[in-house]
């Protein structure tokens, strides 16, 4: 069992990257990929998701997921964080507001009436750093 505490020091720059790729699993077992914003917050990797989205619904059904943070400057280098998604309400958009601080953009800007925001915290089971350029 990995924990964020074991995140490798020489990949910590990626915790401040702008984008990550989230893999969830569809009801039929096929993986689903999305490019997302994220925040390294309180030592954890956290996402702000809209509950109307397929990726969120997938995580509500099956919490197994993987997050890849790619070094855009050197795509031979990345870290994959595999684990489980802990989903918590963000009804007051407290966490969405934190993301706003990182991106200077409102992640909830395109939410529709009735959509809800949740905070998804990745609970790592495996942290896999890769550098094929090394």
């Amino acid at each position: 069992m990995a924990r964020m505490a074991t995140f490798p020091d020489d990949y910590r720059d990626l915790l401040d990257a702008q984008f990550a790729t989230l893999a969830t699993v569809e009801p039929d077992g096929t993986p689903q990929l999305s490019e997302i914003w994220f925040l390294h917050d309180d030592g954890e990797l956290r996402l702000s998701l809209n509950t109307a989205r397929r990726k969120t619904q997938n995580l509500m059904q099956r919490d197994q997921c993987s997050l890849m943070i790619l070094d855009i400057e050197n795509p031979f280098r990345y870290v994959e964080v595999r684990g489980r998604a802990r989903i918590e309400p963000d009804d007051d958009h407290a966490f969405a507001g934190k993301l706003h601080g990182k991106y200077n953009a409102d992640v909830a800007a395109y939410d529709q009436p009735g959509d809800k925001r949740v905070v998804v915290t990745i609970e790592p089971t495996r942290i896999r750093p890769v550098d094929m350029s090394a």
Copy 2:
């Protein structure tokens, strides 16, 4: 059911990208992500994989997969190709040689004695273009 014939014209530039992200599914149901080389070959998306690798073993057990090609210049834009992996032998490295042509590098350079190369062709069931910057 999608086919490569339905690949959207305004994303075809991504077929010549240098990198893609492959999602497979671990035996326990967790998605697994790797950054890989690929080739748009004969109208199909094809990979050269080493059978000793976990991603290849995952695909041999469960052929459901997803390939994301990200526009590195604009990570708001990408295409996700979800589908099934058709795995065929590449014992003579004919396909690995084609990849060599694209990358000017030998994908089999780090293979160990006894490792085998296979050609993996993605048979799309869904092609999902995304442009969050549009």
